[in-house]
């Protein structure tokens, strides 16, 4: 798909363990410049821990993270601090109100990253350009305002401007629209897609909103209990999912009412007690349906189908899905 092009991000068999808890348990993925990848899954799937590891905020237990070929993951505290200050990777958080210092002006908020990283040449122009790129126009109008003087949607634009001012190549967005009104949601998503198309930025967006993936993502990776269990192009994953977990997730989106709902029982298990065999088998509707051939059904509780490969090929970690 991208022959000869160095991936922007490579995540290779990354593990993040907290004591006995395996929050990330062998996750792999690739990202290229100019694409949006949606990482979806329930709370407790490890998606936030994984992007914190990519950001350098979280030490990894094993595996490799590379940014444009450079090793990136931190196994020591000092390395965590160095990586965190890399301007190439920036982050957008869920709640814009909590992410902004109420006592700073919009100018100070957006300029802060430049000052910390001593990238402060032409500070004023850079701030104005970032604001305008984030759709806050004319930027002069906003420079002296405080967060409480602007709307929720504008606040999320300020957060995005604060990230964009660093001219990142990768933006990590953790549920960027979950706390926003539906009416504002579309505007912020359109802005994110425009930044990708216009500047070649890549966005890794963590969400449980499959509609968001349909709206802006080129590819989708579905995470369950620390691993990516299915990945592929958005259209393929959302119109014809292969993994029973993805199928269940899609069936409960309120907009897909033609599908028969498959409401999974209970919640995602504790990552300190990951089930043996296929980690999804205790909740798997396909296994419970009794329709699987006996030789397949026998493997689910005993054999681990392993993680899907991190390359761009579509795949599902499920014994019932034929490879390829």
């Amino acid at each position: 798909m991208h022959p000869g092009v160095t991936p922007l991000v490579e995540v290779d068999d990354v593990h993040v363990h907290f004591g006995r808890s395996r929050a990330v348990d062998g996750a792999s993925l690739r990202m290229f410049a100019g694409e949006v990848l949606a990482l979806v899954g329930e709370s407790g799937s490890g998606k936030t821990t994984l992007i914190r590891a990519i950001q350098g905020l979280q030490r990894t237990t094993a595996g490799a993270i590379r940014l444009e070929g450079r090793p990136m993951n931190a196994t020591t505290r000092r390395a965590v601090q160095t990586l965190f200050s890399d301007p190439a990777v920036q982050m957008v958080f869920q709640d814009p109100t909590g992410a902004l210092n109420p006592r700073q002006t919009i100018y100070e908020i957006v300029a802060e990253g430049l000052r910390i990283g001593r990238h402060g040449k032409d500070e004023r122009e850079k701030v104005a350009e970032a604001l305008s790129r984030a759709g806050l126009r004319p930027p002069e109008r906003f420079l002296t305002m405080y967060p409480h003087e602007i709307s929720g949607g504008q606040r999320q634009r300020v957060v995005i401007a604060g990230a964009m001012v660093m001219e990142p190549r990768l933006l990590l967005a953790d549920e960027p629209v979950a706390s926003l009104d539906a009416s504002i949601r579309g505007e912020i998503l359109a802005l994110m897609r425009r930044l990708v198309d216009e500047t070649g930025l890549a966005i890794l967006v963590v969400t449980h909103d499959l509609g968001l993936a349909w709206n802006i993502a080129d590819r989708v990776a579905v995470m369950y209990l620390g691993r990516i269990v299915e990945t592929g192009p958005t259209e393929a994953i959302l119109s014809d999912p292969k993994h029973p977990y993805t199928r269940a997730l899609l069936s409960v989106v309120p907009e897909t009412r033609e599908m028969e709902q498959q409401i999974l029982i209970g919640e995602i298990p504790d990552s300190a007690r990951i089930p043996g065999g296929c980690r999804f088998h205790p909740r798997c509707p396909l296994l419970q349906s009794g329709t699987l051939p006996p030789e397949v059904a026998a493997r689910c509780p005993t054999d681990d189908p392993g993680p899907v490969a991190g390359d761009l090929a579509a795949g599902a970690a499920c014994w019932a899905v034929p490879p390829g």
Binding site: S43, S183, I184, E187, S239, R257
Partner: protein, 321 residues
């Protein structure tokens, strides 16, 4: 034709602020819900939907001015004396609040919190009877009875929301008001909670008023839908018709924000509504939606449109209808 269980007529709610100014949050709302029916109330933050929900059981701050009529199970809630009001709360109508963590007392086991309304309202004859009923209710919302001894921090977000639903059911209310009950929850847990509410509704003939900004959830969960904007209902009708073929341009904009997966027109094309809702104390002249409306014309700035018939069982407040 069944009798309405809840009937709201010309409801106005005005908040008094610290500086003495008055802020109209709800400006003339009328609607009815039949016994056993379900209605969803949608709109952006600040449109007055939560204020409206809280007013139905008179849970608004002291000093708030409320006029109009709220008739619940034959009683006019707004004119009840404190004793009469106490009898209505929990038993005629109960609320499942948003933010399951903040609505629970962190230093009391959840079982005691579920039992409390039963003891206060004498619907349980003794502590033991209340305890038995608590375990029964926990089972009904899908939690093991042993969870009665758990504290809120020991439960997941979905489990806490189930506890709040069990608590709301403690005194067998006729009307259940659910204010953003699934907003903070994951997709799968949201589906579990919605399925539970639907089962309870069937089994107890509960009447449901469901409030959220998530139009797609309401459409799935409710028979009828009312859309609020700037303190008024601007469209009302059967859910799938309102969501699928909105008569009001505001509803159309709101519905477009929830893409249909598989619909190629929304692929790589997120839609939203430009601009922000007006501040309650400072509404634009004429139709309050006109500054954001893609179809606004001269007449829209003259007078605020009233709800008019927009089809069978449908109403919309737009001069283009």
């Amino acid at each position: 034709m069944s009798e309405p269980l809840l009937s709201v007529r010309d409801l106005h709610i005005t908040y008094a602020t610290h500086d003495g100014s008055r802020v109209p949050a709800v400006r003339g709302v009328s609607f009815e819900i039949d016994a056993g029916g379900s209605m969803g109330l949608a709109g952006e933050s600040g449109c007055g939907k939560s204020t409206l929900a809280n007013s139905l059981l008179r849970l608004l701050p002291v000093g708030t001015e409320v006029t109009g009529e709220v008739v619940l199970g034959g009683k006019n809630v707004l004119s009840l004396n404190p004793g009469g009001l106490r009898a209505v709360r929990w038993t005629s109508g109960a609320i499942v609040f948003q933010g399951a963590l903040h609505a629970l007392n962190p230093v009391q086991a959840v079982g005691r919190q579920i039992a409390e309304p039963m003891l206060v309202h004498d619907t349980a004859s003794s502590e033991q009877a209340a305890r038995r009923r608590t375990v029964e209710l926990l089972g009904r919302v899908g939690l093991p009875g042993a969870r009665a001894d758990s504290y809120p921090h020991e439960l997941s977000g979905g489990q806490r929301q189930r506890v709040l639903i069990a608590m709301a059911l403690a005194c067998d209310p006729l009307l259940l008001i659910a204010d953003e009950p699934t907003t903070a929850l994951d997709l799968m847990v949201q589906a579990q909670v919605l399925a539970l509410l639907d089962e309870l509704k069937q089994e107890r003939n509960l009447t449901l008023l469901f409030i959220t900004h998530d139009l797609s959830v309401l459409t799935y969960a409710c028979q009828r839908l009312a859309i609020m904007y700037a303190g008024r209902i601007v469209e009302e009708g059967p859910s799938w018709e309102v969501f699928g073929e909105a008569a009001h341009p505001y509803t159309r904009g709101l519905a477009a924000a929830f893409p249909t997966i598989g619909d190629l027109s929304s692929r790589m094309a997120p839609a939203g509504l430009a601009g922000d809702p007006p501040t309650p104390g400072n509404l634009p002249q004429g139709c309050p939606f006109n500054p954001r409306c893609p179809l606004a014309q001269d007449g829209c700035r003259d007078a605020e449109p009233e709800l008019r018939i927009a089809g069978p069982e449908r109403r919309a407040a737009c001069i283009l209808v």
